[in-house]
Symmetry: C2
Subunit: 133 residues, 2 copies
């Protein structure tokens, strides 16, 4: 039953790669049931956990959904810009900004370990003000 090393992780990654929008665990599950009819949520969540641990994907807390990471090697030091119109997500590296956020939290002696920085709005393509109108 267990095929080989991290097969599920790779399959989940591949499905995520086919989408440029974040996918929920259950959307992934539904899609993967084409190949694995008996697939259970547990399996998906385990794969997702492992992928997050190795920095390959990112969980968007405010969407309860997952996306591929463009910058795998940067820890959690990024900002996610989420377009509420088209659903697109832009991962933006901003180490200085994350430092500023940490510094702000640290003012009261807080020691940060993980950052959740998600901005909702409209992406350039969906924003009416600029090119269209």
């Amino acid at each position: 039953m267990a095929r080989r090393k991290g097969k599920m992780q790779e399959e989940v990654l591949e499905v995520l790669r086919r989408h440029d929008q974040p996918q929920t665990a259950y959307a992934l599950l539904a899609e993967m049931r084409a190949d694995h009819p008996l697939l259970a949520p547990t399996t998906i969540y385990r794969a997702l956990d492992a992928l997050m641990e190795r920095g390959a994907i990112h969980r968007l807390e405010s969407l309860k959904a997952f996306v591929i990471r463009r910058h795998e090697d940067q820890g959690d030091a990024c900002l996610m810009a989420i377009c509420d119109e088209c659903g697109a997500v832009e991962e933006r590296l901003a180490p200085r900004l994350i430092d500023d956020v940490s510094a702000e939290a640290a003012k009261s002696g807080f020691a940060p370990t993980r950052h959740v920085i998600e901005v909702h709005g409209r992406c350039a393509g969906c924003e009416p003000g600029d090119t269209a109108r």
Copy 2:
């Protein structure tokens, strides 16, 4: 059955005031069932939605939980520092920081409307390095 204007909202607020840690919707539900044995999730979620809309409470996306807001009048322009040790949450006003986050997102033409900025870590009281050891 419906008592009067926003009664549920006030009751939910009162329960939240009795806790200094964030509460999940179902924790609130359980607590409020002491007074209202037949209370349904729907009712709680409606009250929570209304309270969020008027800025009285804040939803912590990464905890799926809700806290009282200290700074009701500041829109979403705040940073939440969440202690993973004791569960305490500090709401910190940081308009300049939020502006910086917006500016960073705006670099690609993104137009921000809502900010989710949550920092996990250890609060001063739980951090071993400083006073204790």
